[in-house]
Symmetry: C2
Amino acid sequence: MSREPNVIYVGRKPPMNYVLAVITLFNAGNKEVTLKARGQAITTAIDAAEITRRRFMQDLKVNKINLGTDEVQMQEGGTRNVSTIEITLTTEAKPKEEAKATQKAKESA
Amino acid sequence: MSREPNVIYVGRKPPMNYVLAVITLFNAGNKEVTLKARGQAITTAIDAAEITRRRFMQDLKVNKINLGTDEVQMQEGGTRNVSTIEITLTTEAKPKEEAKATQKAKESA
């Protein structure tokens, strides 16, 4: 799973960390970025997607959302089910807008 | 919003409460049930959808997932953005299966 270059695993960090990761991957030329999370981190993943879309990349579209369930081994023994989410974001930027976005990123760097 | 008869607002109760609500609405004849949640309750909504689909209604499909953002008034003044989710579940049961499901529900009642 760690081989996929355009997948971000969302954990316990603040949403803005993942927002930055999403923007970085899009600026690196990816047309599609996927956020994966499970359990309480699901809220963080959705926060990151919403913040990116509303504040930084207005042309971003939520392309696909998959729900799932993982079986997690407990320390005390036994297993527990944990819900998972995969949010796939795509950019529909036209060449011109894309160029502008790249320029903006360079300016703020 | 509270007029919609097939919408369940997910809050702080355990996921099984909402699982029961979903099953009840489907057994009442609804072809579509929507779970709405925001903030940390999003995880509970996804848990409820997954438990219903995997443990109780195998023919259930996640038809649509919408993400959104609500502005929430803070007690200390000011506003904060909270992510929201709407999960629409549909049953694709054929008449025969549906009859069986109803019968099962009656048996366990």
